[in-house]
Each structure stands twice: as C-alpha cells, then as structure tokens.
C-alpha cells in the first residue's frame, strides 16, 4: 500500500445519483490509506475530513497525497488548496455525473477509470521544489528614443537599475527633432512642444540609469535573470549582467526614393513629412525651390502605406502627423490653401476633435481620392492629379508644395530568419550533391537581406533576435496578451512593435517595463511567466540517455534549449514556459517534470480498465485534451448537461505538444480502441498558447499513424481535432463521431491478447 494516499469522493451536485460512490470508494481502498465519502466535500465538514487526514489528528495514518474526486479542477481551487501536498483532482461532476446517464454501468466504469487515473497520477507526482538562483534585476533597454527613454525612466522609478544602449551618438531618436508633439489631454486639439529635452535630462541624471551611446550589442548570452551582455562603445567594451530586456529600437521612414510615382525626386518641392518636420523645427515651412512660404500645399496620405507594392499595412500615425503639420503650414502662410488627399482619415478616439477643428478651417480641404500623378507643370508649380474623389472623377490641383505622408518601417531583426540564413550558408558549404548545394544557395539568396541586421545578438539556438510577426514587426500574436513573446523576458515596445504615435509609445514602453520587472521578480521566485504563471515545476533531463536527436532543441517554441557541439540540449530554466513540448518531442522519454511525466501519464493510461474481447460493443477511447481550451470546453458541455459517449476517457495535458507518442503507443498496446487529441487551432491564426504545440502534435500523430499501419492496426484509430474553447457545443459531436467511427472499425485487435 503506497504510504500516505488519501482519496476523498464527493457525492454532491448529482454525483451520488449518477454513480454508486460506495462502489467507487471500494475500488480505491486497496490503493489508499484513507478513503472517505462526503455528500458536500467542499463544505466545512467535508474539508475537515481532508484536513484531519493531512494532520493525522484522528490517529489514522498521515496522508500526504490527496485525490479529490468531485467537481472540475477549475472550480473550488481556493477551497482545495494544500500547499506542499500533491493534490490531484478527479472530475466526477462535469465530466461524468453531468454528462452521462445516471446509474448506468458505463457511467460507473467511467468514474472508476477516472478515479484510477487520478490515483496513479497522485502516486507518480512529486511536489516541485522551488528553484533558487542568483538573479540580476537590472533591465536592459535597447534604443534611446521616446519608447526607450520612457521604459528606462519608468523602470528606474520603480526602483530597478537600468542599462540603456543607444546606437546613435545622442539620445532622443526621431522625436527629439520634432517641432511639436501630439498630446492626449482635453480638449485634444492642442499640440505640445516637440523635442525630448526634459526626458533626456531625467534619464541622463537618474542615479539608477546607465547610458551607453554610439553603442552596439555584441552578444547577449544566458537567460532571464542571468543574461550576460557585451556592448561595444567608442570607449571600449562594456560587460554587464542583466535580468530582462526591453527592445525599443523604433522606426525609420519609408524610403521615399521608391515613391517616384508620387513625384518624389521630380522637384525639390515634393518632400516627405519627415523633411517637413525638420524644416518646421529649423525655422519654419518654406518651399525648398525658392525659400518662400507655400500658398498651395497638398498632403498625400498613405504615401507608400496601405499599398501592396510598398508597405501593406497602415502606418497609423501619418493622418495625425498631417493634422499636426497643417498647423506648421498655417503658421508660415496663414492664407495658404491646404489639400489633404486621403484613402481614409484615421484620427481615432478623441483625436477626432483635432481633425474636426482643422476641417472647420475654410482653407483646409480634405478629400478621399487617389493621386495618380505629381509632376512639375513648367511654371514652377506642381500638378497633382487626383482621381475618384469628391472633387470629381479627375481633378488637378496646382500646388507649390507637396508633402508625402510616408510611413513607418520598424528597426527590427528577424531572429529565426537570421538563423535560417546561417544554416543555409553552412548547408551550401557542406552540401554533398550539386542539387543540395543549388537549393542551399537559393535559400541563402532568399534570406540574404537579413545579413548583418542583428540587434540583440542573442545566444539562442533559434536565432539572435526576436521572431517577427508580420511585416517585420516583432509584435505579439495574441490579442489578449500583447506582451506575449516567444523569448521570455524580452519585450518589444513602441514603434518597433507596431506603428503608433508618441503618446501610445510611451504607454507601451511603461507596459513593457512592467513585464520586464515582472519577469525578473518571477525568476527570483523560480516561477514561470504567462501563461503558466507561478508554475515552479522544472523539467529534468536524464542526459546520460540523450541521443542528441535535437528534436527538443528544435521544437521548443521559446528557445529555452541551447545545444552543445554534439547537439545535447542545454536547458535554461528561466527561458522555459513549462509547456512540455520538449517532453512530447523526446523519443527517449528522458525529459520529465516532477508533477507531469511520461511515466505518469503512461501509467495512468494503463490504469484504464479495457473491456475484454467478449464485450464487443464496449469501446475505450483515450482523449488527450488541452487543459487551456478543450478541457474547459468539456466542462461547459457538462454544465449544459449535454451528453456524449460513455466510452471516452479524457486526460488533460498542458499542451497537445506535450503528448509523447509513447502514450499513444501505450494506449494501443493496452487495447484502447482509439486515441483522440483535442487541442487549439493551428495555422496562421493559431490559438495554441505555446505557438506550435498543437501543430507539432499533428505532425507527430501523422508519423504515429504510419507506425500503426506497420503494426497492422488501422491508422484511423488516431485522430486530432482542432477546437476553440467556444466551440464546446461541437464537442459532444466530435466525441460521438469518433466513437461511432471507431465502433465501425471494431475493437482494437490488441484486445485479443489481453
């Protein structure tokens, strides 16, 4: 009898009516030192049963592992919290009593299996010990523009040391050179003075901020809390140990030389909004050709933006910038006529007031339209041709100054692409055939533009910089979690992350600084960050059995595993999110968590009682469910009292990517008739919280199907279904369909040998 296991079965909320809880308790007696039944386990009396056993106050054996067979583990979490004790929750309510026929033998069989699975998991689990390490709480901020300065100041004001690295010789970035800035104060119509003088001074004189200018990062090795950074400066190399990183490298204007079709280069009087800003900051708006104030000014919006030939995205700020710059024109020439030709005027939120004020000016004309040509008209002016506008099908404006509202290009680097380029270069060198060499060289050329773009120079197997999402922006893929990043404790902020105006960039920088601070504080406590916030379990690698297959190092979505020269994984716990994708990847089963292991789940599968071969109409279907989405969806199915096949046996997993194919094989060997995996959507709009987990699971399952075929077992017995959490109403059908499908195949041939 394993020492210390206590099993507590609740018969409330319909469980007692659905299953014979006494029979259930009897099935557990041989495995536990204490088995107790209660009609209201989460009530004070029920809790007392458990607490007494844990404290051994009633003279019985001391319980130090607890199985609670009651409601879903998603509920009553505060009630059944026993720190330092293994607690395993068995979901008899939502997944059995509320979804199955009361009193049926199949319902009891399901409850018995779930209890048996829970008991095995509790027996195999260890309470994770908190990992303590020396953690640097210093924050590295890369980029000294508005976002970088803000991140540095905000982190310093929260009490943290900051190292600020700027590649230019001066701090301030783009906004330091502006005449005016937008503000977000009522009445939202005014501009503030440009420049960042105050902020720069505050940063330079802050006792907790160290600034390095004209500096480049040579290398960042290590992991959150223990990054070693080497910076090259004109004064020499600086090394420091830092805890987290804010990437605030900003933007550059879109290259206007590509905008010849809008007249750029045809006349000195066709300028960009960046040039206009500089002109305004240095004395006022003048026509470059004759240094006179302009009389007819045309702003062309989306000059290069929202254009598949140039920047396919909206640069978000150009409309507001134009609204600001119209006022510079007005200062220089109060009588000037100003035309704004736009696709859509985008002045969101309260900025509508600014737009409205400028619209009300009798000499400002805003028109939706398409500019099809800008050319000198021969007498010193410019002819701007506008089509499909409310000025008519074709209109011509004679202008003496044309301003192209050019957009934002992020100063980013694509880490995985740089890594792919390096791999392709090596492949080209080492190619064993002409065909291989040809392919590798093609790949090198395709990726060549990433050469030398490194910013962070991270010592990560997955590449030296953050991955980018779209259009070069290292933004988050998640709407709910805009700071979610695939490199733990490294957060992008400001215009490098997404096009945004200054007020937003400051707010964004504060948010990124918060995340950086949080990352180091969680590292101090040995905790994982989002989404498994607070998890202190850490996988162990039994490296003596490692075959250097590199599956784990390649497949970790977070770059938590570096490799030595032979390909042995070098685990970095503070980069790790505890998803278990490495555990699922390992063919040697050498990667395991103390509370979630290959052996634990394999043993749990073996605990499922498979009907013998004489019960041909009874089937057993193992269902691995993502604990984040599919499993809660099945809880809602129960709450809605929707019924489904009594033959399914659900085992929640951290991510489908953590499912080791050994489990599938084990299930087949045990006579389980089919294995279903239900997890998050993958593809471009993936919903997997670990980015690639469900997709990897699908690939692995495809390989497993081939293996089954070789064993003369129908590969269709394995299936993966993508399901969003709100598709709970589809779940009974998903389960039933699979059950019917497997029933048509008949029982697993392995059942003959049991």
């Amino acid at each position: 009898m394993p020492e210390g296991l206590g099993v507590y079965i609740c018969s409330g909320c319909g469980i007692g009516e659905a299953v014979d809880t006494q029979a259930l308790a009897n099935s557990a007696r041989s495995k536990a030192v204490s088995v107790q039944l209660h009609p209201y386990l989460c009530g004070p009396e029920g809790r007392k049963l458990i607490e007494n056993d844990l404290a051994a106050t009633n003279g019985g054996p001391k319980v130090n592992r607890v199985v609670i067979a009651a409601c879903s583990p998603r509920f009553k979490t505060d009630v059944f919290r026993y720190p330092g004790v293994v607690v395993e929750r068995v979901n008899l309510r939502e997944h059995v009593a509320w979804a199955q026929k009361a009193g049926d033998e199949d319902t009891l069989a399901m409850a018995r299996d779930y209890l048996a699975i829970g008991i095995v998991k509790a027996q195999k689990a260890l309470v994770p010990a908190p990992q303590k390490a020396e953690i640097s709480k210093k924050i590295l901020v890369v980029g000294g523009g508005l976002a970088g300065l803000t991140a540095a100041l905000e982190a310093a004001r929260a009490g943290y040391e900051v190292l600020l690295v700027e590649k230019e010789a001066q701090l301030g970035g783009f906004l330091a050179k502006t005449r005016k800035r937008l503000t977000f104060q009522p009445p939202y119509e005014q501009l503030a003075d440009g420049g960042l003088g105050d902020k720069i001074q505050q940063v330079l004189y802050h006792p907790r901020i160290k600034v390095l200018v004209a500096a480049r990062i040579r290398r960042i090795s290590g992991q959150p809390g223990q990054f070693d950074v080497e910076v090259e400066t004109p004064e020499g190399r600086v090394s420091d140990r830092i805890g987290a990183i804010v990437l605030a490298t900003g933007w550059k204007p879109y290259d206007a030389s590509k905008l010849g079709h809008l007249g750029y280069g045809s006349s000195p009087d066709v300028i960009t909004n960046v040039q206009l800003e500089q002109m305004a900051a240095n004395g006022g708006v003048r026509r470059p050709s004759n240094n006179q104030p302009p009389r007819d000014v045309v702003f062309i919006q989306c000059a290069g933006s929202r254009d598949p030939q140039h920047l396919p995205y909206c640069s978000s700020v150009c409309c507001l910038v134009t609204l600001k710059q119209i006022q510079y024109v007005r200062e220089a020439s109060p009588e000037a006529r100003v035309y704004v030709i736009y696709k859509d005027m985008r002045a969101p939120a309260q900025y509508e007031r600014l737009y409205r004020r400028l619209q009300d000016h009798p000499l400002n004309f805003f028109a939706k339209g398409e500019v099809t040509g800008v050319e000198p008209n021969g007498n010193g002016k410019l002819r701007v041709r506008v089509e499909n506008s409310l000025l008519g099908p074709t209109a011509v404006i004679e202008a003496d100054l044309v301003v192209l509202a050019t957009g934002m290009v992020p100063n980013s680097a694509d880490g995985p692409a740089i890594r792919a380029l390096r791999d392709a270069m090596i492949a080209a060198e080492k190619a064993e055939s002409e065909a291989q060499r040809f392919e590798a060289i093609r790949r090198v050329e395709e990726l060549r533009h990433h050469e030398g773009t490194e910013i962070l120079n991270l010592d990560y197997r997955q590449g030296p910089d953050l991955p980018v999402l779209r259009h070069g922006f290292p933004d988050s893929h998640f709407i709910c979690f805009p700071y979610e990043t695939r490199r733990t404790a490294i957060y992008a902020a400001g215009t490098v992350r997404a096009p945004m105006e200054g007020v937003r960039a400051e707010e964004d920088a504060a948010g990124a600084a918060m995340k950086a601070i949080q990352a180091v504080e969680m590292a101090v406590r040995g905790e994982a960050v989002h989404p498994r916030s607070g998890d202190i379990s850490v996988p162990e690698f039994a490296l003596q059995r490692c075959t250097q297959c590199k599956r784990c190092t390649e497949e970790c979505p977070f770059g938590a595993l570096n490799e030595d020269e032979k390909g042995t994984p070098l685990y970095q716990m503070f980069r790790c999110r505890r998803c278990g994708i490495c555990m699922g990847a390992c063919p040697e089963r050498i990667i395991n968590f103390p509370d979630y292991s290959v052996d634990m789940i394999a043993s749990a599968i073996k605990a499922i009682e498979v009907p013998d071969s004489f019960q041909e109409d009874k089937f057993r279907l193992l269902v691995f469910m993502c604990e984040n989405d599919a499993y809660p969806a099945l809880d809602i199915v129960g709450y809605q009292r929707m019924a489904y096949s009594p033959f399914v046996r659900v085992i929640p997993v951290r991510c489908l990517g953590s499912v080791n194919m050994v489990w599938v094989r084990e299930a087949m060997n045990c006579g389980i008739d089919g294995v279903l995996m239900v997890g998050c959507k993958y593809g471009e709009n993936y919903q997997c919280h670990y980015a690639t987990g469900s997709e990897l699971a699908n690939t692995r399952l495809a390989n497993m199907r081939e293996a089954l075929q070789r064993m003369q077992i129908e590969p269709e017995r394995l299936r993966l279904v993508q399901l969003s959490i709100d598709e709970y109403h589809k779940l009974p059908q998903v389960l039933n369909e699979f059950a019917e499908y497997v029933a048509q195949l008949g029982m697993n041939p392995m059942r003959e040998f049991l």
């Binding site: 409330g12 998603r74 929260a158 995205y313 709407i479 948010g511 918060m514 989002h530």
Partner: protein, 420 residues
Amino acid sequence: MPETRLPIAVIGGGMAGMTAALEAAEAGAQVVLIEREPALGGRVAQLARYFPKLCPPSCGLEINFRRIKQNPRIRILTRARVEDITAQPGGYRLTVLVEPRYVNQACTACGKCVEVCPAEVPDPWNYGLSKRRAVYLPYPAAFPFQFVIDRSACLSGCRACQDACPYGAIELTEQPKQEVIEAAAVIVATGWSPYDASRLTHLGFGRFPDVITNAMMERLAAPDGPTGGRIVRPSDGKEPRSVVFVQCAGSRDENHLPYCSSVCCAASLKQATYVREQCPDAEVTIFYIDIRTPGRLEDFYQQVLNGDRIRLIKGKVAKVERSAETGRLVAVAEDALSGRKLTVEADLIVLATGIVPNSQDLPPVLARDPFGFLAIPPSEKGIYVAGCVRRPEEVAATVQDATGAALRAYQCLVRSLAHA
C-alpha cells in the same frame, strides 16, 4: 520585491482591470480587484470573437481566470461599487459598497435553484434578446463560478430557490455591506457601455426589431447567446439575405458622441465575416465615413474586402425606413463621392454604435473630459486610468494600457516602501 503593507486597488474587472491586477500581482504586489458585476470578464465576455484573428475572447479569459485563481495576492470583490476615494498619507482610502449577491460562497453552481425559479425576465446579458431566471449564472464560463439573484426579478414572497438549495448557499435577506479599503495606488478601469441606441430612432432602432446594434450582433453570433450562435432576424428568426452595417451610428457626431469610438470599423468588418460564414449568399453593405483599421488591421480589412458580395460605400446613413412596396427595411444614405442619394434594402441592419465610458457612477473626485472619459491630470501621483474609460480602444491596446498603469501603481508601492 518585498511584501508591502498596502495593496493596489483596481476598479473594474474587465480586460483592463484584470490585466492591471494580474500584472501587478505577478510582479509581487497585493491587489484588491473591485468589480461591479457578479462576475469578472467585462464587456469582452459578451463578444463572440475578436478581430482580426476571429478567435474567442473566452480563450484569453480562461487563462486570466486561471492566473487569478492560482495567485494568492489578488483579492476579488464582486457586485462592488466604489462610492468615494479620498487621499490620505501614503495612498488612498476607498469606500466600497458591496451589493448582496444573495448566494454565498457555499454555492457549487449545481443548478438546483434555476430548476425551481419561477421568475423570468429579459436578459440584459443578451440585450433583451432572450430571457433568464431571477437566479442565474452570469455566463457559462463565469468566474467566480457562482450563482447570483436579481432580487428585482423575484416573485413576491418566493423562496423556492432557498428551499431547493442543498448547500444552504442562498441568503435572500442578505444586506449591502460597506467596506473601506486602504490602498497605496488606484487603477480605474471601469470600461465602457454601448451608446444608447434608443437615441438613434432615425436609424430605426426601437421602431423596427430587425435594426440591432453591433453589441447585439455579437450576442447573436455567440454560441452561448440567445440563438445559440445563429445570425437571424429578431422579428421572425429567418436568415437575412441582405445585411447593412451603419458605421458611426452616434459616433463622430456632434449631436451624439463627438469622438471616434475607434473599434467599430474593425468590429463591423468582423461581423461581416459572421454573416459571410453563416449566410454565404447574403449581400453585405457597409456605409462608412472613414474605415479606421490602423496598423496590421489593414490586412484584415483587405481580407474582408476581397470577399464576395460585400461592398463598402463612403456615406452616412440619414435614415432607416420600411419600404411601403416590399415591406423590407431600407437604409437611405448619400454616397459621399458621387453625391447621389442611395437606398439599400435590408433584412437586418446593424448599427455600429460606439463606446461610452463607464464613468457616471465613479466618485466625482476623478476628473473627466468633456465627453465623460476620465482625464486624470499627470500631477496626480497615485491614481491611474486604463482602458476604455479613458479612451475608446481595442482589446490589445487596452491590455497594453493596463500593463503600463500597473507599473505606475507599482512605483507607488516602491515609493511608499522607501518612505516606510
């Protein structure tokens, strides 16, 4: 960071408030999260999907609820309203009124009470498109997973639920309680409400049942909504064959909301995909002033625009009428480019109503802008605002904003520690 004496008070438990609470608490701060409704989740819990990924909001809520459940530093008050905020040395003193829930923590959400409840009222969660009992669970994935009673809906003298509850969880005589919370900093994140469409009678709302708001459209598309996720005409439950979206229904309008509500353009494009998915033959027309889809939302805009049977017309809808000949609804608008008057017949008209800040019930000490958005002067060191009560914005921006506000509040803790 060392454990601090005083918590951060977060007012509002929607996306902004939950985020602010979690980000600060995971960094080590103590937090009290004060929510007016009986469950967390706020406005996004009523949405069917997010743009541009078309993924369900409940996915992120589930993660956040789990983060909250495992975090001992967060204390939650539901059905709680902040009546007063006063400054005091080292922070603020909040007077909070906690309305009775009439269902205590003994509740297991077993549902016995609903089975016997005889009272039915229009469900505000579904904007009146369905009914609910007087005792109810706020929504299927609600947190806390605990019932609540709308006493105003109860039949006089009825105590059926109390008698039916096996766990003694129902207290029909529960009284409001006042609680005083001392906090080192305050984050206000009370969110928004949809603009009151009954003021848009010229657009047919309230006159024709098939003129609905975008908020109602979300409920129609939601699997837990009044139609189980089916997009149908409220009048007869039939699938629409022509759907018109009216942008800026109240927004960017000096007579209604003189600001842009920021999210309605992308929301209507998203809702056009609902129509596209369920009623592939339906014609979709979107009347707009400007389509405002900043950043990479442009990809989404183009993607929707490239679909079949969808057209966008720059023009403001002047009125909605019923055609005398066909009996169908007619949107009357002016095409801004041609200047011509246009009429489009529709089975379903969706008013893209805007965002109104939830600031009416907040203590007057919190400064507002002329539109009711909170505009706390930067000189106030200790009260911070996040999300749509400050500015209309999309979910990702709200979360960023709330994360930044969490840092500012966290700085107050560090400051108060330094002075302790």
